[in-house]
Structures are given as C-alpha cells and as structure tokens.
Symmetry: C2
Subunit: 217 residues, 2 copies
Amino acid sequence: MTITITAFERSPDGGAGLARDTRVRWALEEVGQSYEVRLVSFEAMKQPAHLALHPFGQIPTYEEDDLALFETGSIVFHIAERHEGLLPDDANARARAVTWMFAALNTVEPTILELATARLLESDKPWHQERLPLVQDRVRTRLSQLSARLGNADWLDGAFSAGDLMMASVLLRLASSGILNEFPNLAAYVARGEARPAYKRAFAAQLAINAGKTPAG
Amino acid sequence: MTITITAFERSPDGGAGLARDTRVRWALEEVGQSYEVRLVSFEAMKQPAHLALHPFGQIPTYEEDDLALFETGSIVFHIAERHEGLLPDDANARARAVTWMFAALNTVEPTILELATARLLESDKPWHQERLPLVQDRVRTRLSQLSARLGNADWLDGAFSAGDLMMASVLLRLASSGILNEFPNLAAYVARGEARPAYKRAFAAQLAINAGKTPAG
C-alpha cells in the first residue's frame, strides 16, 4: 500500500506547521505508516487535475491504492480507523474520541478561522481594530469552555486519541495570538501534543520542504 | 435501547428547522430509529448538569444506554455507523461519504456561520453594511466550488448518504439569504433533501415543539 498526500509547494506560513498537511503527517507518524508527498503550487491547486482530487482546491489530499480522499478530518479518521494507536478499542470510548474530532473542527476551529480571516483578509479595513476584540472574545468563549472540560487531565478523554490530535492542531493556530496562553491548561495541552515524537517528526518533515523558501502570500 | 436527544425548549428560529437537533432527528428518521426528546431551556444549557453532557453548552446531545455524545457530526456518524441507510457498504465509498460530512462541517459551514454571526451579532455595528458583501463572497466561493463538483448529480457521491444529510443541512442555513438560489443545482439539491420523507418527519417533529411559541432571542 502506497500512501500519497499533497502539501503546499510553498506553505503560506513558511513551515510553521500550520498548513493542514501537518495534521495528516502527524496521524501517519502516530500509527507508523510511511507516506509520500506530492507538492502542489498555488496555480496547480486551481487546475482540473487537483480539483478532481479536492473540489475546494486545497491541500492536503490522500491517495491510497484506488481510494482518494480530501478534508483533513476525514483523512485523519480514515488513518485512525485502519491502524492501531489513534482510537480506543472500546466502542463507546471510540465514539467519544470521534466526538472530539468533530468538536475541534466544527465548534472550536470556526471561531479561530474567523480570527485568522480577520487578520489575513480584513486587516486593511477601517473596522479592523474595533472589530478584532469581538472576534477574539468569541475564541475566548470556546477556549474557556474547553479549558473547563479539560481541567487537569492530560487529554480530553482518557488516552491520547485522534480527537486530541485534531484539537491540539486547531489550537496551534492560536500560537501567535497570545490568546492560548490565557488558558494555561490548554497551552500545556498543546505543548504535550507538540512534545510527542510523532508530532516532532511531522513538523520536521513539513519544515524540511519549506526551509529556505520565502513564505508565500 | 432508548435514545434520548436534547433540543431547545424554545428554538431561536421558532421552528424553522435550523436548530441542530433537526440534523440528528433527520438521521434517526432515515434509519427508522425512534427516539425521545428532552427539552432544555437557555438557562439549563449553561448549568453543570447539561455541561456534563455538552461542554460547549449547546444542543443537541445524544444518550443511548451508557453512551453520551455531543456534536452533531459525531452523533450523525454514530447513527450512520450503527444502522443501515446512511453509509454505503463499500469501504471506499463509505470513506468518501464521511469526507463529505467533514467537508460540510469544516469547509462549507464555517463561511455560513460567519455570515450568520455578522447578521446576528454585528448588524448594529457601523461596519456591518460595508463588510457584509465580503462575508457573502466567501460563502459564494465555497458554493461555487461545491456547485461545480455536484454538477447534474442528485447527490454528492452516488446514493444519498450521511454526507448529503449534513451538506444539505448546512446549506439550509442559507435559505433566507438568497445566496443559495444563485446556484440552481445546489438549491435543487437542498430541495431534494427536504423532499425526503425522513426529513419531513424530522422537520414536523421539531416544529411541533416550537409551534405557537414566540421565537426566542
């Protein structure tokens, strides 16, 4: 079985690990599955060949024999379902781990995406400075709820799972904002994720592609 | 097996079907599974008893014997995994259907949530009128890509699946905006979803709770 994922030829973050291929790399490293990477330029991402793999013209995609997937949540779930190490064996615990994957992607990440959008696409607008605190407070509301649930635990529900991989990946997007550090248990949670050998290998692999290249965009 | 879900005691949309319990009801109706509903007030949603079920203080939740789940994507997936009717048998087709669930929730819905947020929380701000077209255009970008992929097909990947249930539910949030009608094949896609007997039963069930009540908020 050969697994091929796609990644940015030149990541917009210059290798800071925030491009979504890092999430897939991390999952593959956790389960000890080797993979190949095909780099895609911004021009190629909008061409029919890539759109056939990813209708929204993004990375990563995932190809394995005659299966082609897009959408990070789906790819990580597929990896977690087929290999040991990212989902518990007990059916109920497994369903709860999947719940945290969806919570990361549909409840926590949208507020973080909105903050990123404000910074990337609206920083030149006359309303930006006045609006930014509203957007930041929406992020804080979610982090406050997540922080209360996590408490003093290492991970969200028992052992590390694909749910933690996804939640930590989503929270990593906040690293440069300072907001994460307002919630020490969440900052420590993310640091625990980053300290995992599998994360370190994933991070190093994406950095190796982007090192020495000027960030795009 | 008794299934109990939670729903708003008084839905903010007055029964228009946009509260997320409708998605879970629809899934349960598609697979022919009966369920009970516990209504929750806005006050109760923020109390410890409900937060133990749903750390973000929202509805719906899902209880089945000793399993408790939150997050609509996870609940619908759990139902789809354990009953016939919402996921194909073929493993690859199944992975692709799950991909569309994640795409609905993490790629399409965030732009729609941002539009809803602008309308609900920022309509009194001085920037609202000038900013709204930017937010609408982000929705259009996603719909345009989705429309191109759907083409003339009835559903996103072969037969109706949990992926279509989730995508149609997400797009339904745009009904009042007029944007959906700019993409006739997507409007028809959503209408096909609404025409399904299971959707009609789900819609009627949530309307019965909210009929005659003044919309909250």
